[in-house]
């Protein structure tokens, strides 16, 4: 479903809150200064000619004789914001008051239409004594910009038209870091469209990681979701047993109820979580079992299934007096349901479910991707790096769907001549050398492809007896490194042992012992 967000901008919010408390000031030049010491003007009404935000009160009075400067009342502003949000809840199901004078509500698929919703919101704000501008767009930033440029009326950015709408607007609408405005100016970048047209890589190199966010906003692709009001920071539920239990079934039974309650609360506030804790209360202490979800979810069934795997893989079910669930919302919008198989969402969900199951069953460092690191070290045990998989995004791209695997892999790939990986370094010989085969069976060489025998690593290397001198072998390959910390000096050999196994062994030159490093299999 297309995301549509409505934004109300109240430019005179602080002044109007003050006037609600002190109606006698109506019609007089009025400015609101921040803090008890009133050092900086933050807002002024329209009769305060010459007064702008950022002035000191002295400067403001000099610009506008007769100006009344009032200290900002933040508690009154909060109360007014709450009152306005209460009223806006009649316009949309999800309402957010992110900052004083800025309100959002979810305007997707409203029965009265977008124009009707904006008109109703303006009427409500006017009844409460606020003047405002309102706009609807696909994302929060575009809606806020549209409301700001709309003046006192309403503006509707058509679906998918955020980038076009934002293109001519000033780059100053972005919340730029200090100094960035000047740097953009020096580069001749004035509008959001100019910024959006630049490649993100060079921009990030020049401005840092925040440039990606700037460009995301400038392209009308703000992915920040609405934050619901009155959302709890932590959701908890607990079930106490009549007597201590030491079996999994009653724990799971109680846990299902707790997770159902917590998930309903999460879903009710349009929130999700990406991890939760199962708390097992024993007679004297508590044990916490963390469960990772791999993707944000508020599904009780998913949470229960992963919790069951996590509990089954741990042996801590002794004298459990109570079981509880503690969930901290992650602030991300719930993913859309994948209604039809074969969509990218369903593929991603399958990967996420698999990773979540693995993480529940194993420890974090036991579910990894292994990358070769030949530049790091020449020692086989240091020549690779294991990186824990935390989310589906860690696995490159999106996995192809089963249908394409059944087709392309099953039929097309059979006729494709296997090609060597481009990762493999090849060292050419200076002069072609004749290859001779030396084996016990003297078997002739078969027609071959170019497939590499797999080395199964033995880590740490296992001490072995010195191999016989007459064993078929290649080497030595001298390896010396890490002299600055743990010196390594080894002579590596590839040899065939008495059982006919092809091994990678080395003789440690420091202690003279032989070690098994790997088995070719």
């Amino acid at each position: 479903m297309q995301r549509r967000i409505a934004c109300l901008v109240l430019p005179q919010f602080s002044v109007e809150v003050c006037l609600r408390a002190k109606p006698s000031l109506k019609g007089r030049p009025l400015a609101i200064a921040h803090g008890e010491s009133r050092r900086e003007i933050v807002s002024a009404n329209r009769t305060s000619i010459g007064v702008v935000a950022g002035m000191t009160p002295k400067q403001a009075r000099a610009a506008c004789p007769g100006l009344v400067v009032i200290a900002r009342d933040e508690s009154a502003e909060l109360a007014a914001t709450s009152e306005l949000l209460d009223a806006l809840e009649t316009c949309g199901p999800l309402v957010e008051g992110s900052a004083p004078g800025i309100c959002y509500f979810d305007a997707a698929a409203l029965p009265g239409g977008e124009a009707g919703a904006l008109g109703a919101a303006l009427s409500l704000a006017t009844e409460l004594g606020f003047s405002c501008a309102a706009a609807i767009a696909d994302d929060k930033f575009s809606a806020r910009c549209a409301a700001r440029v709309a003046g006192a009326g309403v503006s509707i950015v058509p679906p998918g038209g955020s980038a076009v709408f934002l293109a001519p607007l000033s780059i100053g609408l972005l919340a730029l870091a200090p100094g960035d405005a000047d740097r953009f100016d020096l580069l001749g970048l004035r509008t959001l469209g100019q910024l959006a047209a630049l490649p993100v890589g060079p921009l990030a190199l020049r401005f840092g990681e925040r440039a990606r966010r700037y460009q995301q906003l400038a392209r009308g692709a703000d992915d920040e979701s609405l934050q619901p009001r009155n959302a709890a920071a932590v959701y908890e539920d607990r079930f106490g047993f009549d007597g201590a239990v030491d079996r999994l079934e009653p724990v799971l039974f109680a846990l299902r109820g707790c997770l159902g309650t917590v998930a309903a609360r999460l879903a009710g506030c349009a929130q999700t979580c990406d991890r939760f804790d199962v708390v097992l209360e024993h007679s004297a202490e508590s044990a916490i079992v963390p469960v990772l979800l791999a993707e944000p979810s508020a599904s009780a069934e998913t949470m229960f299934h992963l919790a069951r795997i996590a509990l089954e893989s741990r042996e801590m079910l002794e004298s459990i007096a109570a079981v509880g669930v503690r969930v901290t919302p992650c602030g991300q919008a719930p993913p859309q349901l994948s209604l039809f198989d074969g969509t990218a969402a369903s593929r991603r969900a399958a990967v996420a479910a698999t990773i979540a199951r693995l993480q529940a069953a194993l420890r974090r460092d036991e579910v990894v991707t292994m990358m070769p690191m030949p530049a790091r070290s020449r020692l086989p045990e240091r020549m690779q790096q294991a990186t824990p998989i935390d989310s589906p995004q860690d696995l490159v791209g999106v996995v192809r769907e089963r249908s394409s695997r059944h087709g392309a892999l099953g039929r097309g790939a059979r006729n494709v001549t296997p090609a060597r990986s481009s990762h493999v370094a090849a060292r050419s010989l200076n002069a072609p050398a004749p290859v001779t085969q030396r084996s016990a069976s003297n078997a002739p060489a078969a027609n071959g492809g170019a497939w590499a025998p797999a080395l199964r690593l033995v880590d740490p290397p296992k001490p072995i007896a010195a191999p016989p001198q007459d064993s078929a072998r290649a080497g030595p390959f001298r390896l010396s490194e890490s002299w600055w910390e743990q010196p390594v000096e080894r002579d590596y050999y590839q040899l065939v042992d008495n059982a006919g196994a092809l091994l990678l062994v080395f003789r440690d030159l420091r202690d003279g012992c032989w070690y098994l490093q790997g088995v070719f299999d």
Partner: protein
């Protein structure tokens, strides 16, 4: 699915390695069974699918996997600490359905998969279409009975290159496999294929 090894694919015929079923690769130590498993993983990941390798022995060597053509960015490596954890990891991978192929290395952990484990995994693999490949040393009776394809690896015959002053170099090896059990083709057929050894970072081969 195809293994990508022309001689082995010719041996397996048009059916190839069956999807959604259990395939057993067995043989003694250094017989070439892991090489065949790597070829299957390479074939799957090269097509953009996700693969998984359950490695309770801790013997997975990424440079060798890359040399075999595996896209290691598309490979989940599970390193369970014991046999029970290996079973849980395998169950999670097969049941999840995200992986086109799951390779379980049980060669060093005999008795990892019993009859009821195999029955459950085979049912799940059939449901999700995941190709389940189990590497054993040949004594896993339960795996053998549930496998729809059993490939026996006979051993690696090294190919040496004579060097100067008596120092040689391992250029590669000849692998030999045969079909011990198959639902699609008659057992007993065999194939031989050559495997050349890569060099890692141009330094020394391993």
């Amino acid at each position: 699915m195809a293994s990508g090894i022309a001689d082995l694919d010719a041996l397996l015929g048009p059916a190839g390695v069956p999807r959604g079923q259990l395939t057993e690769l067995f043989g003694s130590r250094s017989s070439g069974k892991t090489m065949v498993a790597f070829a299957l993983l390479a074939s799957a990941t090269r097509e953009g699918a996700l693969g998984a390798y359950v490695d309770p022995w801790g013997g997975f060597f990424a440079p060798a996997a890359v040399a075999a053509g595996i896209d290691v960015r598309r490979l989940i490596v599970a390193r369970p600490r014991d046999a029970a954890a290996a079973r849980r990891a395998t169950d999670a991978l097969v049941r999840g359905g995200a992986c086109a192929i799951v390779v379980v290395d049980c060669a060093e952990l005999s008795g990892t998969l019993q009859t009821h484990h195999c029955a459950r995994l085979v049912a799940q693999a059939e449901k999700t279409g995941t190709t389940l490949v189990v590497i054993t040393n040949g004594d896993a009776q339960a795996v053998a009975s549930f496998a729809s394809l059993r490939v026996r690896a006979h051993g690696l015959t090294p190919v040496w290159q004579e060097g100067s002053e008596g120092s040689g170099r391992l250029m590669g090896c000849i692998a030999s496999v045969d079909i011990a059990k198959s639902r699609a083709i008659a057992p007993g057929r065999s194939a031989r294929f050559a495997a050349s050894l890569p060099e890692v970072a141009g330094t020394w081969p391993c």
